[in-house]
Amino acid sequence: MNKDTAAYLKGKKKQILETWMGNQVKDAALRDDLMSVAELQQQSEEFLSALLNAFNTPEAEDTESAGYEPIHDILSDISITRARQGFSPRETSTYILSLKQVLSQELEEQLRGNPALLYQELLSMNRIMDSLGMVTMETYIKGREEVILRQTSEISEISTPVIRVWEGILALPIIGTLDSARTQVVMEALLQEIVATSSRIAILDISGVPTVDSLVAQHLIKTVSAARLMGAECIISGIRAEIAQTIVHLGIDLTNIYTKATLASALKMAFSMLNIQVSRAPKQNLGF
């Protein structure tokens, strides 16, 4: 970018910022519930200063050059924050796109008399802003992926509650895929509760596990062994008919493990293992 052009833009900073802010705020896409306008103003001013400075360096067109480092930082920060706050891709890219518009207008105004130079400077400015736009999108997507990963791990934690169904009996409904990370969470939660409640039986209900492959089976077997070391016996319940057939074909040996089709039958088994008798009270007139 031409030195004079860069200097001109720098001189116009205040005006550019004002118009840009106006555009951002006016744009229906900006959600003031998500970010205060004052905050946006401050962020935008920092960004614009850094950008206009970078325009004024010999490597203005190389957005990977040192002058652009602070710009990348601010931009990444903005898009990551917007990704986390639930801004849409459109709302996020508006940030750069609306500034590009203002800069185009300024260049047009200043260089109207010199179409050749105007063309050249517009081209150069566009190249810079497009490249920054791509950075915005890349970081935005990274931010979204982070959100998804965090939600996944949160879900896997909240979805493994250990329930005390009876004195000495725990139940653990497992919902979703039992991968290695998940097994760790399940196993820790279970062992902790076994100790805390001195329980002797744990029922692992897998009716909510969609696929039982050899890895899941291995994880289940490991969990059962760990519980045994803590002095508790496990019963695996919720084995659906199609899962039972699949396990047999896979060749998984569950003969050393108590298994039941339903949670209710597992509970019954647990009662008898603990010599607990549950019976219906005889019908009588409760006359008190």
Partner: protein
């Protein structure tokens, strides 16, 4: 055999396994496969993608709906460019594992489908193809 539909599904990370299995379920449902057969197919596929991730660091899968003598089925191909398997015969045995796991993935997957083919070349990679027919046992 006619190919009725064909798509690619790259497998790069553990999270892909769940999406992959869900996609297979959709295809299997489209052929009218019973729940038991769907579950068998998904479990076999699960074993094979896990192997791809674990031993070859990922790969690519082809998901096809095929038809032979008017009977529809799902054909899945697992292609990786990992280290390959030195002795395929040994790897197909129940309980053989170089990864301290159950060693039931390959032999189990073979029992869960109607057609099973494995080709592996050390240093080049491994390709496994399976078919589960709608009405196959």
């Amino acid at each position: 055999m006619i190919v009725l539909s064909k798509e690619k599904f790259p497998i790069e990370k553990e999270q892909d396994v769940i999406l992959f299995r869900n996609r297979i379920k959709e295809l299997a449902t489209r052929t009218g496969m019973s729940l038991v057969n769907q579950t068998k197919l998904m479990t076999a596929a699960s074993e094979l993608v896990r192997n791809m991730l674990r031993y070859a660091g990922g790969g690519v899968t082809l998901l096809e709906i095929v038809s032979r003598s008017s009977i529809p089925g799902v054909r899945l191909t697992f292609i990786d460019e990992g280290p390959g398997i030195k002795d395929v015969h040994q790897a197909m045995k129940d309980g053989f594992s170089t990864g301290k796991s159950l060693g039931l993935g390959l032999p189990g997957a073979k029992r869960l489908v109607n057609e099973f083919d494995i080709k592996s070349e050390p240093g080049k990679g491994t390709t496994v193809t399976i078919i589960r027919w709608k009405n196959g046992l």
